[in-house]
Symmetry: C2
Subunit: 158 residues, 2 copies
C-alpha cells in the first residue's frame, strides 16, 4: 500500500520512517535494545511469522541499524546487534514509550518499563533542551521550521 | 498483515505504535504539527489516496491524537487539530527527525527542517535528562528496565 513514496520527500521524519517506521521494525529494534539478539528469541517474543522477521531483519541490516555477528559456524547462525546508528534509535523509542506511558495506559496501570540513569539510578526523561540558552524547553516553546542555510545567530557562539 | 497483535503486549512502545505507528499516521501527525489542517491540504502534501487518508484520520481521532473542528456548515467541512495528547507526539517525532538528520541524509545534504526555541531562536535538541542528578544524560548511561512497584529511591526527594 505504501510503496516507496517517501523516497521523494526531503524530510528526515519520512526517511526515518522509511528506514524503520513500519511497526514490526521498531518493535524489533526495541527488543534488541532490551537484550534479545537471536532469531528464535525475537520470533517468540514478538509472535511474528518467520518470513516477516527475516525480511525485517534484512531491511534493518541494509539500513545500517543492525549488524550480524556469527555465534555458530556449524550450522552457521547469526546474532543481531545494534550499530551505533541503531543505538541512537533508543532516544525516539524511549520518547514514544514515555508518550504511551502518559496517554495509553489503562486507569491504575503503571508503566511496565522505566528508563533509568545507570550511574545514579534516577528516572530518565526525554525532553527538549536549547543549545543557545542552555535550558530545558517546554514543548509549547518549540517550533519546527525550514532550516536556514546558515546556523542561527543564537548558535554561533552568542 | 499486522492485525491487532500489539494489543496483547503490555508495552508502551507497542501501544504507541498501535495508536500511531503505521507510517502514514506519523506523517499525518507531522503535517498537522507543521500547520496543515484540512483534508485536501493533507492529501496533496502526502500524495495519499483519499480512502487511506480518511481511514487514518478517523483512527487518529478515535485514538485521541486529533480532533475535528468545523470550518464550514454548507457543505459541512472539518479541520483536524492536535489534541493535548497529539501535541505531545511532537517530541518523539522531533527525536526521529534528528536521528534521520544525523544518519539518513546524503553526503553534503543539510537537514531540511530545524527545531528552534521560540523565545531565543536557538537550536533545540531532544535528549535525556535525569530527575535525580539533574544532568543531561548520554545515551550510553540510559538503561530501560522493568519498572519497580515503588519509585526509585533516587527519585524520592533524595
Amino acid at each position: 500500500m505504501l510503496g516507496r513514496t517517501y523516497d521523494e520527500q526531503v524530510c528526515s521524519v519520512a526517511r526515518a520512517l522509511e528506514a524503520v517506521g513500519e511497526r514490526w521494525s521498531l518493535l524489533i529494534v526495541r527488543d534488541v535494545h532490551l537484550g534479545l539478539h537471536r532469531f528464535e528469541d525475537l520470533r517468540l517474543e514478538l509472535g511474528i511469522a518467520r518470513n516477516v522477521l527475516t525480511t525485517r531483519l534484512n531491511h534493518l541490516v541494509d539500513a545500517g541499524v543492525l549488524e550480524r555477528r556469527p555465534y555458530s559456524d556449524h550450522p552457521q547462525r547469526w546474532e543481531y546487534h545494534l550499530t551505533r546508528v541503531g543505538l541512537e534509535l533508543g532516544l525516539p523509542i524511549v520518547a514514544l514509550m514515555q508518550w504511551g506511558d502518559r496517554h495509553l495506559l489503562e486507569p491504575g496501570q503503571r508503566p511496565p518499563r522505566q528508563a533509568r540513569h545507570r550511574t545514579c539510578h534516577g528516572t530518565v526523561d526525554v525532553g527538549y533542551s536549547c543549545r543557545s540558552c542552555a535550558t530545558t524547553v517546554p514543548a509549547r516553546e518549540v517550533e519546527v521550521l525550514p532550516a536556514m542555510t546558515a546556523p542561527a545567530a543564537a548558535d554561533r557562539g552568542a
